[in-house]
Point group: C2
Chain length 209, copies 2
């Protein structure tokens, strides 16, 4: 049910974001058109500019949404688990799972599409919040196992690995033919067994120096 008039759309901002995700998913970011978006939403070509300063701002909003969602998922992903090692694996699985479930958001969060990260204050904050989940877990791990590693170094290493898995899974096509390709086989393996990689990494971290 609508109001009697449809001059005002009512929820244009979020509708645009949702439609943008669909379009990007179907044809890639580089083909995203604000005009096409407006058309699909049933508004004029200039209406989107009331909600987003420009195209980049729309994409930044999606990336921010992604970081917020990721942070939330990582938190609830581990709260039912007390063992730190299992928490570690679970968080990694959740991270990669997020990238899989929301490839468009993930791509916007880390792709080079957004000129500079620090342009948007919101985006910056959301990203920091998400990272804090990982940092806290690693602090606990270092403390409990009495490890001699620098937490920042560990953070960079672990983040690299899970981000790398996510990125490869999204960017290296694996479903199709041409699986005689070695790199694709490796990614296909990743796809089936994210935990295996996380366990290797965990062993490297906790092995006594």
């Amino acid at each position: 049910m609508k109001t009697k008039s449809n001059y005002h759309h009512g929820d244009l901002r979020s509708v645009l974001m949702a439609l943008a995700v669909e379009d990007i998913s179907a044809s890639g970011v580089e083909k995203l058109s604000l005009r096409a978006l407006a058309r699909r939403a049933g508004v004029s070509a200039t209406a989107p500019f009331r909600h987003f300063a420009d195209k980049q701002a729309l994409l930044a909003a999606l990336a921010t949404q992604g970081f917020e969602d990721l942070a939330q998922r990582m938190q609830i992903g581990i709260e039912n688990e007390s063992d730190l090692a299992r928490r570690f694996v679970q968080m990694g699985v959740t991270y990669v799972g997020f990238a899989r479930d929301f490839p468009v958001h993930y791509q916007l969060m880390f792709g080079a599409v957004l000129g500079d990260f620090s342009q948007s204050q919101d985006l910056q904050r959301a990203a920091d919040d998400a990272y804090r989940q990982l940092d806290q877990l690693l602090c606990q791990l270092v403390q409990e196992k009495n490890l001699s590693h620098d937490v920042k170094t560990l953070g960079g290493t672990v983040w690299s690995t899970v981000h790398g898995m996510a990125s490869l899974l999204l960017n290296v096509p694996v479903a199709e033919q041409a699986l005689d390709s070695q790199p694709r086989q490796a990614v296909a393996m990743l796809s089936q067994d994210v935990e295996a990689s996380l366990l290797i990494l965990l062993r490297g971290i906790t092995a006594s120096t």
Copy 2:
């Protein structure tokens, strides 16, 4: 010195590729304009289409060039080293170093800008060739140390880690202000000590199961 006439440019294809790298480096892929490229090269707006079917084809050519260069660098990077563990670290350092030295190429090789990887046969082959370097090294490592890991799984894990490091180093700005941000600090740490991460990973791989 030029020939008497400049109707034919002579080396337009490679000049376009070089200029494209400059432009992308300065303003990002999404702002790359074939017309601007043509202008800078001093040719008509349609001339580039004689060498590249479309914009994507130009980008794919750059990505292919990137994979070929990467493969070559990884090979010469390790050929003076006989110890397998040190070879492992050296290859990782070379990989990340390549991404650092050729950020535009790297971004095109793994960013989602190229719709589908398998579009170009050349690109596919070049990528496979590069990956083979890693695969061979891991095979040797598994054999020498008598490891029980699946080589494909190891490949996926190691590739994830180095690719993740490269990707984070390129996409998370670190030089500027706002270093009170934890994730940026972690990436800054990565930037200074790529080897540390590789050593942690190596330990995880070679630790007896």
